[in-house]
């Protein structure tokens, strides 16, 4: 078997040769390396991490996409800060964009127009910045789904799930604050909605809005304040969390798929130097290139078409940036009439309920790893990924969650759906409301069945091999299809997975069955009652002769 790895200690190109005929460059490299090492002991770092192994799978690139788009955001964002002025002082626009000449607007809006029309390359950088932000959030979202559906959040990685989740929330906050900075009609409308949302919160709402906007909406403070958050506070927290996230990846080592030679006790892949560094480094430039390509050819957020913010003009068919859609959709889907006056105070349940639902969704995502760990009671470390089908209940819950999110998200475009497909807005909203409730339930049931069916199919293949398409007539006249047995490598992928059974309720030391225990057993039944056990060697033996 040619599985020999290159030795860690392998000295660079054959030592005897290099010492006998040293070129001046290698002498310089040596001197420089020595100089640095004597002042930083960096050789220890190289020894430790230079040949660290990273496993290889396309789905492991999703987090990389997020990381690299964040770098692009930092680079382009820094450029933009050199020109953007976060002030709401009124000016009369006098730049090169003719249709808006002479229009009163805030300095923020006018400087954003200047970036777009008067700074060379400004529009390109602005568009790359916006596209990179969208890529960043999308990549985090898909990365989270990958982590979820493969069970990569299990011990010891629960805390890193929480950190990653915080990164996701920070990314949303960065997106929203950034979107609001140009002070154009759309972003102003977005802030108006936030203002209304905050005002609807009981007890503290009115004052929070008053303080946030520095007086009455819209005031002259909000853009400057969001700017401080957008370029200072949030990125600082984000960078720290990101560093922590990556430190944990190093501490835990990357997960990998189960496979021939790949066990829970090893990591199989390519070493950082040179393979992974070259591949990942190259991939950074590809991600940057794709984002730059979008920034070059696809206009995004053309604020010059929207004009400056004004509380009065209406703009039908406006959409928030897609990542805020689910929150906007929640506001649209709430059934009518949920606002009451009680004890001389206004209770805006048409706002409180959506806020609670969104909070509930977010908290559910945050704590899921801990819930599953509690149900299984499994305290072992897990470094091998689950194929989604091999954790049917988890996968089904995930699909239900995705559909719930999708229904909220789709609702944020209810008006566009209605106008494009010539439907009544009431109909679209009602269908979306039904989807919000039924979609997750149906999605859950279907997914769970599909997973179990796929597991059964895997069993079939492991036991009897796959259908070869070759029909043979036996001497007795019977026709059979010849099944081709899978080789041991293929079979290993089908049989190596975790299997759980429902928790048996047993009395504790006092001879009692506690309510908590009962509840846990119920949850465990829900998770593991329907299960397909992996094929065992005995079954194969028997299976061969039937």
């Amino acid at each position: 078997m040619s599985t020999v790895t290159t030795p860690d200690t392998a000295p660079a190109p054959a030592p005897t040769q290099s010492s006998s005929q040293r070129s001046s460059t290698s002498r310089f490299t040596e001197a420089a390396a020595n100089y640095i090492d004597e002042r930083t002991s960096i050789s220890g770092v190289v020894k430790e991490f230079g040949r660290k192994i990273f496993p290889d799978h396309w789905s492991f690139m999703l987090g990389e996409v997020a990381l690299y788009s964040f770098v692009v955001i930092l680079l382009t964002g820094t450029f933009l800060t050199f020109f953007f002025q976060a002030s709401m002082a009124e000016v009369v626009y006098n730049g090169s964009y003719v249709p808006l000449k002479g229009v009163e607007m805030s300095t923020a809006m006018s400087s954003t127009l200047n970036i777009s029309f008067d700074v060379r390359g400004g529009l390109l950088i602005r568009q790359i910045h916006h596209w990179a932000a969208l890529t960043f959030i999308a990549a985090i979202g898909i990365h989270m789904l990958r982590i979820y559906f493969t069970g990569a959040f299990r011990k010891p990685r629960e805390l890193n799930w929480v950190i990653g989740f915080i990164l996701f929330i920070l990314a949303l906050a960065e997106g929203f604050t950034g979107y609001s900075l140009p002070d154009d009609l759309l972003s102003g409308n977005g802030l108006r909605i936030i203002d209304g949302l905050i005002k609807g919160l009981p007890v503290v709402g009115t004052w929070i809005s008053f303080l946030l906007f520095g007086g009455e909406f819209p005031g002259t403070d909000i853009v400057g304040r969001l700017y401080s958050l957008h370029i200072l506070l949030l990125p600082a927290i984000l960078a720290v969390m990101l560093a922590l996230h990556l430190v944990f990846v190093v501490v835990h080592k990357h997960t990998q798929w189960s496979g021939p030679g790949q066990t829970k006790d090893n990591v199989v892949g390519s070493p950082i130097l040179p393979m992974f560094a070259a591949k990942a480094g190259g991939f950074f430039f590809i991600v940057f290139g794709v984002i730059a390509l979008m920034g070059t050819f696809f206009t995004i957020n053309p604020i010059w078409n929207y004009g400056p913010y004004d509380p009065s003009p209406v703009s039908a068919g406006t959409q928030p940036d897609w990542y805020i859609g689910f929150a906007d959709g929640a506001l649209r889907l709430i059934p009518p009439g949920l606002e009451f006056e009680l004890w001389n105070r206004t209770w805006s349940f048409n706002i409180i309920i959506p806020v609670l639902i969104l909070t509930g969704l977010i908290v559910a995502v945050l704590v899921y790893p801990f819930i599953e760990a509690w149900i299984t009671g499994d305290k072992r470390e897990h470094h091998l990924l689950d194929r989604p089908r091999n954790a049917p209940t988890r996968t089904a819950i995930g699909v239900a969650g995705v559909l719930f999110y999708a229904a909220l998200w789709g609702a944020a475009s209810s008006d566009l759906i209605a106008t494009h497909f010539q439907l009544s807005i009431e109909g679209v909203i009602h269908v979306n409301q039904a989807l919000l409730v039924l979609g997750p339930i149906i999605g859950y049931l279907v997914t769970k069945r599909v997973c179990l069916a796929l597991q059964k199919k895997d069993r079939e293949i492991a036991l009897h091999g796959f259908e070869s398409g070759r029909i043979v007539r036996l001497p007795g006249g019977e026709y059979i299809e010849v099944h081709q047995p899978v080789d041991e490598y293929e079979r290993w992928k089908l049989v190596d997975y975790n299997d759980y059974q429902p928790l048996m309720i047993r009395p504790n030391a006092q001879g009692k069955i506690t309510a908590v225990q009962r509840f846990r057993a119920g949850m465990s039944r829900w998770f593991f009652e329907d299960r397909i056990a992996p094929v065992s060697p005995k079954e194969i033996e028997r299976g061969g002769h039937h």
């Binding site: 599985t3 390109l124 909605i193 520095g214 040179p274 730059a292 805006s348 299984t376 065992s536």
Partner: protein, 358 residues
Amino acid sequence: MAHDDLSGKDITAVSSAGVSHETAAPGTAVIPSETFENPGFPPHRPRVTDTDPKAEKKAERQVYTFFYLSIVGSIFAIASYMAFPIEDGDTGALRLHTMMLGIGIVLALFGLGFGAVHWSKSLMANHEGIDLRHPVRGSDETRARAVEIFKQANEESGFGRRTLVRNTLLGALVAFPLPAVVLFRGWGPQNENPVELLEHTMWKKGARLTLDPSGLPIKASDVTLGSAFHVIPEGLNESEHRLEEKAKAAVLLMRLDPAKLKESPERRGWSYDGIVAYSKICTHVGCPVALYEQQTHHLLCPCHQSTFDVTEECKVIFGPAKRALPQLPIAVDGEGYLIAQSDFHEPVGPSFWERSSS
């Protein structure tokens, strides 16, 4: 940090069972009595570039061609920056400038990216590397030492023993960030109360209804049947807080067939010959409600689709909003211009906690 020095050994040295001393509880996991043996790595398949020197040479050529292209892209971007300037107000020039600059940059990035990835995938050695995993928890000795250190620190400081010292320290630590909370009061103007501000708008008795945004007064006779006007109070454009006032005072003016208007007794006299004025600020979260359907007399909010029926005093007929749009009582002055009879009789815009109709 755990360091793995396994590389260099064969995988067979690392049987799947031996390394981590699994002591943690498996919970409800099923531990099968007998399992398959991990078959180990499948035979290594050499790439074309490993076996065919010609293919290797070709790959090498491709890689450096990519890097050359990248350099070309960077130079192209610099040249485009100078060759295709933005000319004043010419959007075509802007588009060309953005595109050419962008193409150069994209080429530079893609050249680097594809070159490096191609190099790594086709030319760099691709045998599997293996690291060993170790349990994340520290070794028992390390943990014992950590506990010992904490114990010693506790003894040396008396943290656990001197309880009053400890508790007052914790108290002080809890108290010290509180001034920061107070400081946030300064985010809003000091001697103002948001509740009072929200209850009034710029409208007052005799204020003329003027067109948004020009500020020209509106004659009742100009408001033809079926028309709708976007309205602001006179003097708003000169107001010190133009946008703040407009965010409360924006009004929509419509003329309907008076027979279609269903007016409650206390609001008789708030309209003028079928002309009605309603707040344009949605009672849900404050978007401007200004999609007017002339035939059905419905007002639709573009943000969350709350729908209001103008014939029924703008009560909500669909969507998340609950309250009707507040009505502005209007009349006509001596010169035939539309004027307000008073301010709104209730706060306009989104609901807020302290709001009450009584």
